[in-house]
Protein backbone atom coordinates (compact mmCIF):
# COMPACT_ATOMS: atom_id res chain seq x y z
CA UNK A 1 0.00 0.00 0.00
CA UNK A 2 1.38 3.39 -0.88
CA UNK A 3 1.36 6.12 1.69
CA UNK A 4 -1.61 8.40 0.97
CA UNK A 5 0.02 11.16 2.99
CA UNK A 6 3.28 11.20 1.10
CA UNK A 7 2.45 14.05 -1.21
CA UNK A 8 -0.69 15.66 0.12
CA UNK A 9 0.04 16.50 3.78
CA UNK A 10 3.09 17.72 5.65
CA UNK A 11 5.44 14.96 6.80
CA UNK A 12 4.58 13.38 10.14
CA UNK A 13 6.70 13.84 13.21
CA UNK A 14 7.91 10.25 12.91
CA UNK A 15 8.83 10.79 9.28
CA UNK A 16 10.88 13.87 10.12
CA UNK A 17 12.64 12.21 13.04
CA UNK A 18 13.44 9.14 10.96
CA UNK A 19 14.84 11.21 8.14
CA UNK A 20 16.94 13.29 10.52
CA UNK A 21 18.33 10.23 12.24
CA UNK A 22 19.09 8.40 9.02
CA UNK A 23 20.84 11.45 7.57
CA UNK A 24 22.96 11.89 10.67
CA UNK A 25 23.92 8.22 10.94
CA UNK A 26 24.85 7.98 7.28
CA UNK A 27 26.85 11.20 7.43
CA UNK A 28 28.78 9.92 10.45
CA UNK A 29 29.45 6.63 8.68
CA UNK A 30 27.57 4.57 11.23
CA UNK A 31 25.02 3.04 8.90
CA UNK A 32 25.24 2.24 5.24
CA UNK A 33 22.42 3.27 2.97
CA UNK A 34 22.72 0.15 0.82
CA UNK A 35 22.62 -2.02 3.93
CA UNK A 36 19.37 -0.35 4.96
CA UNK A 37 17.92 -1.05 1.53
CA UNK A 38 19.01 -4.67 1.78
CA UNK A 39 17.32 -5.03 5.17
CA UNK A 40 14.08 -3.59 3.84
CA UNK A 41 14.23 -5.69 0.69
CA UNK A 42 14.72 -8.85 2.72
CA UNK A 43 11.48 -8.47 4.64
CA UNK A 44 9.49 -6.73 1.94
CA UNK A 45 10.29 -9.22 -0.82
CA UNK A 46 12.13 -12.32 0.38
CA UNK A 47 11.10 -13.45 3.84
CA UNK A 48 7.37 -13.82 4.31
CA UNK A 49 4.48 -16.19 4.98
CA UNK A 50 5.20 -18.30 1.88
CA UNK A 51 8.06 -19.76 3.93
CA UNK A 52 5.65 -20.89 6.62
CA UNK A 53 3.21 -22.22 4.04
CA UNK A 54 6.01 -24.35 2.59
CA UNK A 55 6.69 -25.79 6.04
CA UNK A 56 3.01 -26.51 6.65
CA UNK A 57 2.46 -28.16 3.28
CA UNK A 58 5.52 -30.35 3.76
CA UNK A 59 4.32 -31.30 7.24
CA UNK A 60 0.99 -32.37 5.75
CA UNK A 61 2.65 -34.53 3.09
CA UNK A 62 5.64 -35.97 4.89
CA UNK A 63 5.10 -37.63 8.25
CA UNK A 64 8.83 -37.93 8.86
CA UNK A 65 9.15 -34.21 8.39
CA UNK A 66 6.23 -33.63 10.77
CA UNK A 67 7.97 -35.79 13.37
CA UNK A 68 11.11 -33.74 12.91
CA UNK A 69 9.09 -30.53 13.37
CA UNK A 70 7.63 -31.93 16.54
CA UNK A 71 10.99 -32.86 18.02
CA UNK A 72 13.14 -30.03 16.62
CA UNK A 73 11.16 -27.40 14.77
CA UNK A 74 14.15 -25.06 14.51
CA UNK A 75 16.20 -27.72 12.74
CA UNK A 76 13.38 -28.97 10.53
CA UNK A 77 12.45 -25.45 9.44
CA UNK A 78 16.10 -24.51 9.01
CA UNK A 79 16.56 -27.49 6.68
CA UNK A 80 14.35 -25.61 4.19
CA UNK A 81 16.62 -22.56 4.42
CA UNK A 82 14.44 -20.59 6.85
CA UNK A 83 16.81 -19.64 9.63
CA UNK A 84 17.92 -16.71 11.69
CA UNK A 85 16.54 -13.60 13.27
CA UNK A 86 13.30 -14.05 15.22
CA UNK A 87 13.23 -17.72 14.38
CA UNK A 88 16.17 -18.98 16.40
CA UNK A 89 13.97 -21.14 18.65
CA UNK A 90 10.96 -22.48 16.81
CA UNK A 91 8.11 -24.61 18.04
CA UNK A 92 5.10 -25.87 16.13
CA UNK A 93 1.63 -26.15 17.61
CA UNK A 94 -0.84 -28.34 15.74
CA UNK A 95 -4.54 -27.79 15.28
CA UNK A 96 -6.74 -30.88 15.51
CA UNK A 97 -10.48 -31.45 15.54
CA UNK A 98 -10.48 -30.72 19.26
CA UNK A 99 -7.64 -28.20 19.57
CA UNK A 100 -7.20 -24.74 18.15
CA UNK A 101 -4.00 -22.75 18.66
CA UNK A 102 -3.62 -18.99 18.68
CA UNK A 103 -0.35 -17.06 18.96
CA UNK A 104 0.16 -13.62 20.50
CA UNK A 105 2.85 -11.59 22.20
CA UNK A 106 1.16 -9.54 24.90
CA UNK A 107 4.35 -7.71 25.93
CA UNK A 108 5.65 -6.55 22.55
CA UNK A 109 4.95 -8.23 19.23
CA UNK A 110 7.26 -11.24 19.00
CA UNK A 111 6.58 -13.13 15.81
CA UNK A 112 8.34 -15.88 13.84
CA UNK A 113 9.97 -13.72 11.17
CA UNK A 114 11.77 -16.58 9.45
CA UNK A 115 8.53 -18.29 8.51
CA UNK A 116 5.99 -15.46 8.45
CA UNK A 117 8.00 -12.31 7.75
CA UNK A 118 7.16 -9.15 9.64
CA UNK A 119 3.89 -9.12 11.59
CA UNK A 120 0.75 -7.44 10.27
CA UNK A 121 -0.48 -4.25 11.93
CA UNK A 122 -3.31 -6.00 13.77
CA UNK A 123 -0.91 -8.48 15.39
CA UNK A 124 1.01 -5.53 16.84
CA UNK A 125 -2.14 -3.66 17.85
CA UNK A 126 -3.08 -3.10 21.47
CA UNK A 127 -6.57 -4.67 21.23
CA UNK A 128 -5.23 -7.92 19.76
CA UNK A 129 -2.46 -8.17 22.31
CA UNK A 130 -4.91 -7.42 25.13
CA UNK A 131 -7.76 -9.73 24.19
CA UNK A 132 -6.03 -12.75 22.64
CA UNK A 133 -5.29 -14.07 26.13
CA UNK A 134 -8.50 -12.99 27.88
CA UNK A 135 -11.09 -13.49 25.13
CA UNK A 136 -9.67 -15.60 22.30
CA UNK A 137 -13.12 -16.67 21.11
CA UNK A 138 -14.13 -13.04 20.78
CA UNK A 139 -10.93 -12.32 18.86
CA UNK A 140 -11.50 -15.26 16.54
CA UNK A 141 -15.08 -14.13 15.93
CA UNK A 142 -13.78 -10.71 14.94
CA UNK A 143 -11.73 -12.46 12.26
CA UNK A 144 -14.80 -14.41 11.18
CA UNK A 145 -13.70 -17.70 12.74
CA UNK A 146 -16.32 -19.31 14.97
CA UNK A 147 -14.69 -22.05 17.01
CA UNK A 148 -17.00 -24.64 18.53
CA UNK A 149 -17.43 -24.43 22.30
CA UNK A 150 -16.10 -27.97 22.67
CA UNK A 151 -12.88 -27.12 20.86
CA UNK A 152 -10.05 -26.42 23.29
CA UNK A 153 -8.35 -23.14 22.58
CA UNK A 154 -4.68 -22.89 23.41
CA UNK A 155 -3.23 -19.40 23.40
CA UNK A 156 0.54 -19.10 23.16
CA UNK A 157 1.92 -15.87 24.63
CA UNK A 158 5.42 -15.44 23.15
CA UNK A 159 7.00 -14.06 26.30
CA UNK A 160 10.43 -15.61 25.60
CA UNK A 161 12.48 -16.15 22.42
CA UNK A 162 10.45 -19.24 21.51
CA UNK A 163 8.53 -18.56 18.31
CA UNK A 164 5.35 -20.44 17.55
CA UNK A 165 4.06 -21.59 14.18
CA UNK A 166 0.52 -22.93 14.03
CA UNK A 167 0.06 -25.94 11.76
CA UNK A 168 -3.53 -25.63 10.57
CA UNK A 169 -5.53 -28.70 9.65
CA UNK A 170 -5.22 -29.94 6.09
CA UNK A 171 -8.50 -29.23 4.34
CA UNK A 172 -10.56 -32.24 3.31
CA UNK A 173 -10.66 -32.95 -0.40
CA UNK A 174 -7.01 -32.15 -1.01
CA UNK A 175 -5.75 -35.72 -1.33
CA UNK A 176 -4.61 -35.13 -4.89
CA UNK A 177 -2.99 -31.74 -4.33
CA UNK A 178 0.72 -31.37 -4.83
CA UNK A 179 2.80 -29.91 -2.04
CA UNK A 180 3.00 -26.63 -3.95
CA UNK A 181 -0.75 -26.56 -4.46
CA UNK A 182 -1.24 -27.27 -0.78
CA UNK A 183 1.13 -24.48 0.19
CA UNK A 184 -1.01 -22.09 -1.84
CA UNK A 185 -3.97 -22.87 0.42
CA UNK A 186 -2.13 -21.90 3.59
CA UNK A 187 -2.82 -18.35 4.73
CA UNK A 188 -0.65 -16.30 7.02
CA UNK A 189 -3.58 -15.85 9.39
CA UNK A 190 -4.04 -19.60 9.74
CA UNK A 191 -0.41 -19.93 10.84
CA UNK A 192 -1.01 -17.32 13.57
CA UNK A 193 -4.29 -18.96 14.49
CA UNK A 194 -6.86 -16.25 13.79
CA UNK A 195 -8.18 -18.39 10.94
CA UNK A 196 -9.15 -22.03 11.44
CA UNK A 197 -10.69 -23.60 8.36
CA UNK A 198 -8.62 -23.16 5.22
CA UNK A 199 -10.53 -22.70 1.99
CA UNK A 200 -9.90 -25.01 -0.91
CA UNK A 201 -9.86 -23.03 -4.12
CA UNK A 202 -8.74 -23.71 -7.66
CA UNK A 203 -9.35 -26.40 -10.23
CA UNK A 204 -8.91 -29.44 -8.05
CA UNK A 205 -12.06 -28.97 -5.98
Amino acid sequence: MSDPHDHTTPPSDAELRTKALETLLIEKGLVNSQALNALIDTYENKVGPRNGATVVAKAWCDSNYLDWLRSDATGAIGSLGFTGRQGEHMKIVENTDSIHNLVVCTLCSCYPWTVLGLPPVWYKSAPYRARAVSDPRGVLAEFGAIVAEKTNIRVWDSTAEMRYLVIPQRPVGTENFSQTELANLVTRNSMIGVERDLQVTGDKT
Partner: protein
Protein backbone atom coordinates in the same frame (compact mmCIF):
# COMPACT_ATOMS: atom_id res chain seq x y z
CA UNK B 1 7.32 -3.37 35.10
CA UNK B 2 3.57 -2.86 34.92
CA UNK B 3 3.96 -0.56 31.93
CA UNK B 4 1.80 0.47 29.04
CA UNK B 5 3.25 -2.41 27.01
CA UNK B 6 1.86 -5.05 29.37
CA UNK B 7 -1.42 -5.45 27.57
CA UNK B 8 -2.75 -8.90 28.38
CA UNK B 9 -6.31 -8.58 29.68
CA UNK B 10 -6.60 -4.81 29.33
CA UNK B 11 -10.13 -3.68 28.40
CA UNK B 12 -11.40 -0.67 26.52
CA UNK B 13 -8.94 -0.72 23.62
CA UNK B 14 -11.63 -1.02 20.96
CA UNK B 15 -11.93 -3.41 18.02
CA UNK B 16 -8.93 -4.95 16.25
CA UNK B 17 -10.04 -3.91 12.77
CA UNK B 18 -7.64 -6.16 10.86
CA UNK B 19 -6.80 -5.33 7.28
CA UNK B 20 -7.61 -8.26 5.00
CA UNK B 21 -4.53 -10.43 4.65
CA UNK B 22 -4.52 -10.23 0.86
CA UNK B 23 -4.54 -6.43 0.89
CA UNK B 24 -2.04 -5.64 3.63
CA UNK B 25 1.44 -4.54 2.62
CA UNK B 26 4.51 -5.20 4.76
CA UNK B 27 5.03 -1.49 5.46
CA UNK B 28 2.44 1.29 5.37
CA UNK B 29 4.66 4.34 5.07
CA UNK B 30 8.07 4.94 3.56
CA UNK B 31 9.44 6.15 6.89
CA UNK B 32 8.44 2.87 8.53
CA UNK B 33 10.85 1.03 6.24
CA UNK B 34 13.66 3.36 7.20
CA UNK B 35 12.87 3.26 10.93
CA UNK B 36 12.77 -0.53 10.78
CA UNK B 37 16.06 -0.81 8.93
CA UNK B 38 17.78 1.80 11.09
CA UNK B 39 16.78 -0.08 14.23
CA UNK B 40 18.25 -3.31 12.91
CA UNK B 41 21.38 -1.67 11.52
CA UNK B 42 22.11 0.15 14.78
CA UNK B 43 21.37 -3.02 16.72
CA UNK B 44 24.13 -4.75 14.77
CA UNK B 45 26.68 -2.46 16.44
CA UNK B 46 26.23 -4.70 19.48
CA UNK B 47 25.89 -1.80 21.88
CA UNK B 48 22.65 -3.09 23.40
CA UNK B 49 20.83 -6.39 23.59
CA UNK B 50 17.25 -7.35 22.75
CA UNK B 51 15.97 -6.87 26.30
CA UNK B 52 17.52 -3.45 26.62
CA UNK B 53 15.83 -2.41 23.40
CA UNK B 54 12.49 -3.78 24.59
CA UNK B 55 12.89 -1.98 27.88
CA UNK B 56 13.71 1.28 26.09
CA UNK B 57 10.31 1.06 24.38
CA UNK B 58 8.30 -0.05 27.38
CA UNK B 59 9.67 2.66 29.70
CA UNK B 60 7.69 5.31 27.83
CA UNK B 61 4.66 6.88 29.45
CA UNK B 62 1.85 4.34 28.95
CA UNK B 63 -0.28 6.87 27.07
CA UNK B 64 2.57 7.51 24.61
CA UNK B 65 3.19 3.81 24.17
CA UNK B 66 -0.50 3.23 23.42
CA UNK B 67 -0.92 6.20 21.11
CA UNK B 68 2.17 5.40 19.09
CA UNK B 69 2.14 3.01 16.19
CA UNK B 70 4.47 0.04 16.31
CA UNK B 71 7.28 1.69 14.36
CA UNK B 72 6.85 4.94 16.27
CA UNK B 73 7.64 2.93 19.37
CA UNK B 74 10.66 1.43 17.62
CA UNK B 75 11.86 4.87 16.61
CA UNK B 76 11.38 6.20 20.12
CA UNK B 77 13.28 3.22 21.55
CA UNK B 78 16.15 3.72 19.13
CA UNK B 79 16.40 7.42 19.94
CA UNK B 80 16.37 6.62 23.66
CA UNK B 81 19.18 4.08 23.36
CA UNK B 82 21.34 6.33 21.19
CA UNK B 83 20.89 9.20 23.65
CA UNK B 84 21.30 7.26 26.89
CA UNK B 85 24.41 5.48 25.66
CA UNK B 86 25.79 8.74 24.17
CA UNK B 87 26.62 6.86 20.99
CA UNK B 88 26.41 9.92 18.78
CA UNK B 89 29.07 11.79 20.72
CA UNK B 90 32.42 12.18 19.07
CA UNK B 91 34.41 9.75 21.19
CA UNK B 92 31.93 6.95 20.48
CA UNK B 93 31.50 7.60 16.79
CA UNK B 94 35.10 6.58 16.16
CA UNK B 95 34.56 3.31 17.97
CA UNK B 96 31.31 2.52 16.18
CA UNK B 97 32.25 3.33 12.63
CA UNK B 98 34.17 0.07 12.34
CA UNK B 99 30.96 -1.77 13.24
CA UNK B 100 28.91 -0.31 10.40
CA UNK B 101 27.65 -3.27 8.35
CA UNK B 102 27.66 -3.38 4.57
CA UNK B 103 24.86 -4.49 2.29
CA UNK B 104 26.82 -7.64 1.48
CA UNK B 105 26.77 -8.87 5.05
CA UNK B 106 23.05 -8.32 5.66
CA UNK B 107 22.00 -11.77 4.43
CA UNK B 108 24.51 -13.59 6.61
CA UNK B 109 23.74 -11.60 9.72
CA UNK B 110 19.99 -12.08 9.41
CA UNK B 111 20.16 -15.77 8.67
CA UNK B 112 22.52 -16.32 11.60
CA UNK B 113 20.21 -14.51 14.01
CA UNK B 114 20.99 -14.41 17.69
CA UNK B 115 20.23 -17.63 19.54
CA UNK B 116 19.75 -17.18 23.28
CA UNK B 117 20.24 -20.73 24.47
CA UNK B 118 23.28 -21.24 26.67
CA UNK B 119 25.28 -24.23 27.87
CA UNK B 120 24.67 -25.47 31.38
CA UNK B 121 25.67 -28.34 33.61
CA UNK B 122 22.61 -27.95 35.83
CA UNK B 123 19.32 -29.77 35.57
CA UNK B 124 15.88 -28.12 35.57
CA UNK B 125 14.10 -27.73 38.90
CA UNK B 126 10.69 -28.37 37.37
CA UNK B 127 9.39 -31.09 35.08
CA UNK B 128 6.34 -31.47 32.86
CA UNK B 129 3.23 -31.83 34.98
CA UNK B 130 4.63 -30.01 38.02
CA UNK B 131 2.25 -27.47 39.53
CA UNK B 132 3.88 -24.06 39.81
CA UNK B 133 2.90 -20.62 41.00
CA UNK B 134 4.11 -17.58 39.09
CA UNK B 135 5.88 -15.26 41.50
CA UNK B 136 3.80 -12.25 42.38
CA UNK B 137 6.81 -10.02 42.19
CA UNK B 138 6.03 -6.75 40.48
CA UNK B 139 9.56 -5.65 39.73
CA UNK B 140 9.80 -2.16 38.35
CA UNK B 141 12.53 -3.01 35.83
CA UNK B 142 12.30 -5.15 32.71
CA UNK B 143 10.72 -8.55 33.04
CA UNK B 144 8.94 -10.93 30.71
CA UNK B 145 6.36 -11.94 33.31
CA UNK B 146 3.09 -10.40 32.12
CA UNK B 147 1.09 -8.79 34.90
CA UNK B 148 -1.89 -11.02 34.19
CA UNK B 149 0.12 -14.11 35.21
CA UNK B 150 1.57 -12.77 38.45
CA UNK B 151 0.56 -14.91 41.40
CA UNK B 152 -1.40 -17.38 39.27
CA UNK B 153 -1.08 -21.14 39.42
CA UNK B 154 -0.45 -23.38 36.43
CA UNK B 155 1.61 -26.38 35.49
CA UNK B 156 4.73 -27.08 33.51
CA UNK B 157 3.87 -28.04 29.95
CA UNK B 158 7.47 -28.36 28.73
CA UNK B 159 11.06 -27.52 29.51
CA UNK B 160 12.17 -25.21 26.71
CA UNK B 161 15.90 -25.18 27.33
CA UNK B 162 18.40 -23.02 29.16
CA UNK B 163 17.98 -19.46 27.90
CA UNK B 164 19.29 -15.98 28.57
CA UNK B 165 17.34 -14.49 31.50
CA UNK B 166 15.74 -11.20 30.34
CA UNK B 167 15.32 -9.61 33.78
CA UNK B 168 19.12 -9.68 34.13
CA UNK B 169 19.94 -9.26 30.45
CA UNK B 170 18.15 -5.89 30.38
CA UNK B 171 20.70 -4.81 33.00
CA UNK B 172 23.55 -6.01 30.80
CA UNK B 173 24.09 -9.33 32.59
CA UNK B 174 23.91 -12.26 30.17
CA UNK B 175 23.14 -15.17 32.46
CA UNK B 176 21.09 -18.27 31.74
CA UNK B 177 18.08 -19.83 33.43
CA UNK B 178 15.85 -22.75 32.57
CA UNK B 179 12.87 -21.70 30.49
CA UNK B 180 9.50 -23.42 30.80
CA UNK B 181 6.21 -23.39 28.98
CA UNK B 182 3.66 -22.88 31.75
CA UNK B 183 0.03 -23.68 31.11
CA UNK B 184 -2.52 -21.61 33.04
CA UNK B 185 -6.28 -21.97 32.75
CA UNK B 186 -8.51 -19.05 31.78
CA UNK B 187 -10.51 -19.76 34.92
CA UNK B 188 -7.38 -19.16 37.01
CA UNK B 189 -6.44 -16.04 35.04
CA UNK B 190 -9.79 -14.36 34.48
CA UNK B 191 -12.36 -16.21 36.55
CA UNK B 192 -14.18 -17.22 33.38
CA UNK B 193 -13.98 -19.06 30.05
CA UNK B 194 -12.39 -22.38 29.18
CA UNK B 195 -9.23 -21.75 27.16
CA UNK B 196 -5.66 -22.27 28.30
CA UNK B 197 -2.83 -19.79 28.07
CA UNK B 198 0.74 -21.01 27.63
CA UNK B 199 3.35 -18.58 28.85
CA UNK B 200 7.13 -18.94 28.64
CA UNK B 201 8.64 -18.22 32.03
CA UNK B 202 12.07 -18.68 33.56
CA UNK B 203 12.91 -20.65 36.67
CA UNK B 204 13.30 -17.60 38.98
CA UNK B 205 9.71 -16.61 38.12
CA UNK B 206 8.27 -19.85 39.44
CA UNK B 207 7.77 -21.50 42.80
CA UNK B 208 6.69 -25.03 43.51
CA UNK B 209 3.10 -25.74 44.50
CA UNK B 210 2.22 -28.87 46.41
CA UNK B 211 -0.25 -31.01 44.53
CA UNK B 212 -3.63 -30.77 46.21
Amino acid sequence: MNGGHDLGGVDGLGPINPEPEALESVFHHEWEKRAFALTLACGFWGQWNLDESRHARERQHPADYLKNTYYENWLQGLETLLAEKRLLEDENIQKLSSKCISADSVGDILSRGGPVNMPTDTTPAFHPGDDVKVMNNHITGHTRVPRYCAGRIGFIEAVQGFHVFPDANALGQRTGQYLYSVRISAQELWGRDSHSVYVDLWQPHLTSVRKS
